[in-house]
Symmetry: C2
Subunit: 248 residues, 2 copies
């Protein structure tokens, strides 16, 4: 159900925007705009994928779901990336869930068209593989961060990542949902958020968090945040515009 007919918006996604004209031209007709509501499950763990998604304004979270129902986030993708690497990596699916964390739009592309263009071994393939390596860095850093850092630091990191992907500094998200992402207790998030609020770095009321002082947040966050960000620039900087994650 295409909402818009033209694909100009596709340029909002940094990866699509980075493609040479001829490669984009081939993909263009296959790019279907979709609107993604908050909470929508893009794909379920182990379910074969049909489409790859290139978010433009939406943010999608990669969630791991344990047997007992506990969840933990392993990565996130917004207009800086894509969702569905398993399609071109060959596995067709992955053992994790993808959920819309912030409502917005995306373009999706059918598996067949994706694989064809990927198989040409040109820029598209290069960008997709580099993005995948970036995603691995994200996941690795999450693993390490889970092991070694406090909830407060992890919350900071999570807020900053969101801020980078959002077009605003307002975040629609309850403590409970954040707790599910971070894989910790809701109370733990409330306490950590309370501390940040006391320090004047954020402000929140019933499901809306406003980031007030980015600089200070960057002072509290652990090294994990910067490492991942730098790796994005290193891997994809030559394709996407500088300061891709700049916020007004």
């Amino acid at each position: 159900m295409p909402v818009v007919k033209n694909t100009d918006d596709a340029q909002l996604n940094h990866l699509l925007a980075a493609l040479p004209a001829d490669e984009f031209a081939r993909l263009k007709s296959g790019l279907e705009p979709v609107s993604l509501p908050l909470g929508k499950v893009i794909y379920e763990s182990g379910e074969h994928l049909e489409y790859i998604y290139f978010p433009t304004t939406a943010i999608i979270s990669l969630l791991y779901v344990m047997e007992n129902g506990a969840t933990a986030e392993i990565g996130m993708a917004g207009n800086d990336g894509l969702v569905g690497v398993a399609l071109f990596m060959g596995g067709s699916t992955t053992p994790n869930r993808a959920v819309v964390q912030s409502a917005g739009n995306a373009f999706r592309l059918r598996s067949k068209a994706l694989k064809f263009e990927f198989g040409l071994g040109a820029t598209f393939q290069n960008i997709l593989l580099r993005y995948t390596q970036y995603l691995m860095t994200q996941i690795s850093q999450t693993a390490v961060c889970n092991r070694l850092h406090s909830v407060e630091q992890q919350l900071c990191r999570w807020l900053l990542i969101n801020h980078d992907l959002l077009q605003t500094n307002k975040l629609i998200m309850t403590h409970d949902l954040i707790a599910n992402m971070l894989g910790v207790r809701r109370e733990g998030v409330s306490i950590a958020a309370g501390n940040l609020q006391k320090k004047g770095l954020i402000k929140y009321v019933r499901g809306t968090i406003t980031m007030l002082d980015r600089k200070e947040l960057e002072g509290v966050v652990c090294e994990c945040y910067a490492v991942v960000k730098q790796e994005y620039d290193r891997l994809l900087g030559k394709y996407v515009s500088k300061n891709s994650s700049k916020i007004p």
Copy 2:
């Protein structure tokens, strides 16, 4: 410094063994056997890679090193895989270290030959990408396991993975080294190992751990172990022989 002239041993690596005759023939001359001593650093975090490694009897650990020197393992590769995905993914390097965890042999292949064969888009590419997806699963599961499971369970998992990659049930490894891998205290490992020994599942003396009862270990371990193993079979089962990780 080739130790052996012929490359028959290369068949010990499951990924190389899975290649069609013609693809292997092209790679053959570029495969250089190397002997990897315990503790050797294959590549340092951020250092540009020259070779990709296909272990035959060695086990290599992917270690993340924090600014303060703390370490945590994010993945492991033995004869079931390879080390150096960054070479074909495009990044040339990754922000983690690769260390020999169990001495043994491997074959290495120069970046240039690797990229050429990868670029052909045949089975080799397919296997490498599938292995990379498997590695992502490994890392994801580590992230989740770090978040949600006890040291004892993680130790179990670590022992079982090693057992799968080893040709023996004897493991040369001190508690202290294991602690560095798991990113926990040495004492924590000693206590967890002590418990497992009391239960009769393992036995250890000064740097040597013997696995006595695999079945029981599988009873104690968390779900993370099986998930990763199944994903290997799903992604690469059609290429490598069944029960690739069977131990006598």
